[in-house]
Amino acid sequence: MAGRGAGGGGRKTRNFATFRLFPRAGAADPNDRVFVRVDNNDYNVPGFADEDPFDSNFTADAADLHSFASGPLPEHVRREILELGLPDDGYNYLSHLRELRPAASAASSFVPNSTARPEPLPLDVKAYDASRVRVAPSADDLDEGKTMCKVAAKTAPLRRVQRALDPDVARLLDESDFSHGGSEDEGLEEDFVIMANQAEGDDEVEEEEEELGNGIFSDVEEEKEEEEFEDEPKPRVRRLLDEQFDLLALEEYGDSDDDDDDRGGRDGDYELPSEAIEELKLFCDQNGCVDEDYRTPADFVRGRLESTTADEVDESANVIQKCAEYAERYLNEPAEEKETVLVSESSDESEVWDCETIVSTYSNLDNHPGKIETPGNRRKRLPRVFPGETATTNDLIKLHGKEKLPVDYLPQRKRNGEKEKKVKPAEAFNAEKVKKEVHKETKEEKKARKAAVKEEKREARKAKKELKGLYKSETQKAQKVAAVTGPSSIRLM
């Protein structure tokens, strides 16, 4: 150490420099450390800590920054900041950058979430997984039914669809919604509707028809027919459409008996032809069970079919007769007059009430008659048991303590209370008188007093314990009741 440089009052010259090892700010490797000076002495050690804490900013570019501290940032810095996605607001965000650790790059790379479920479909979309369907290599033998079966066998409905992660794929998927009717040369264009319509003599092809063709699963066939006439001039189209629509409306919502004739061919096979409907109605009326062989009563009579009982044969023979009889009776019945039923009303006499039958028109549901008593002092019997009690003026019975007991009306407590009250003032009085007497006496008295108090407290504790034990069952019962009826804020035990 050098000798004292400063005067008498100063400290010893501090000819040392202290450095601490810190990890470099923004360094990738935690082992990349620098010595940083931590004291303020004048002593200089050349070449040791070549980096100051303040010097970390003074790198090659930062030198420019320093000169530009007040003004705008240099262009290359600004460009870099923008490239990183940070806002261009005049602050140099590059000073906060940190190098990535080489090992960390693998650890911090994107890990797909293994527990994530793909998004559920929107309600108006149905998705099918057809990845297992094998498309027939040859175009011949395209039996529709068979191919449909094959497709259906391998297709499974999906409830969730994973959204495409690849941006190109996602773009393509999104595009497919918009550019439907764009060009006719696009891949999956189903034009069987068009072909069918062309067969009926309609030439032009409209975009919307294609759309409908793709919506093969739509239930309403009428729409297709309506589209047919779109190319014709508007007022005429309207009329035809109107008619069609009216018919349709009638059919759906009106009486179905009238327009069956026109319906049949037009509407396709979604409704049974009227003839079939009528047949069914007849069948229902007959209410017969159709076995393999059709049975008639005559069969039983003539012995063509076997019957289990003899009665059946007889009955069958008489069927026609019976039918005739029943028919006659039925015809004749309405001719008879119906019986007149007389209902006698109650006479006027019964309307009058007499003393025997009625006391009041009030019912006990609304009216609670009380017992008539001599007025006064019926409720005061309870307080009378405890004379000298002052707190009986109000009608409330106060419940205190955990057990919620009517404290004022309990016997033992009251007595102790009386005793204590009597004792304390008396003793206090005595104590005051005796204050100036011999010290020992007051000490003795104090002891006596304290002993008395202790006794009282002991007794009180014993009594409380007794009472608690006595009433424990009561609290349990009360709690049971309160659990059902009372609010949960009341704690009984």
Binding site: M1, N15, F16, F19, R20, L21, R33, F35, F48
Partner: protein, 128 residues
């Protein structure tokens, strides 16, 4: 006689390898203070530094072990005041070792850059 002179030349003390470069660098008195909460790591770092310094043939005053400072915190275990009054006694032990060398700052930089353990704090005080 020249041969005899040569033969009887007093044996020269062969210089150590390091001395060939001369000792133009200023030698300072350097104190390295190592502190840590972890004795094992601390001892390891100490050992490495000492070995490094000895390898460079520096004057070394071996790791002086300062008395460990124990910081105690005694708190109630309970977050509320309820229950038996149990107390937790937490302590933190800080160990400190001091190594004195006489060498140039560069050498020290070299030595300290090699070894390190996490949790060990290194402080270097250079004086003349």
């Amino acid at each position: 006689m020249a041969a005899a002179d040569v033969a009887y030349a007093p044996p020269m003390k062969s210089g150590k390898a390091g001395y060939e470069g001369g000792v133009p660098e200023v030698q300072h008195r350097i104190r390295i203070t190592l502190s840590s909460r972890n004795v094992k790591n601390l001892e390891k770092v100490c050992r490495d530094l000492v070995t490094g310094a000895k390898g460079k043939k520096l004057t070394l005053k071996g790791p002086v072990r300062m008395p460990t400072k124990v910081l105690n915190i005694t708190t109630r275990k309970s977050p509320c005041g309820e229950g038996t009054n149990t107390w937790d006694r937490f302590e933190m032990r800080v160990h400190k070792r001091v190594i004195d060398l006489v060498s140039s700052p560069d050498v020290v930089k070299q030595i300290t850059s090699i070894t390190i353990e996490p949790g060990v704090e290194v402080e270097v005080t250079i004086s003349d």
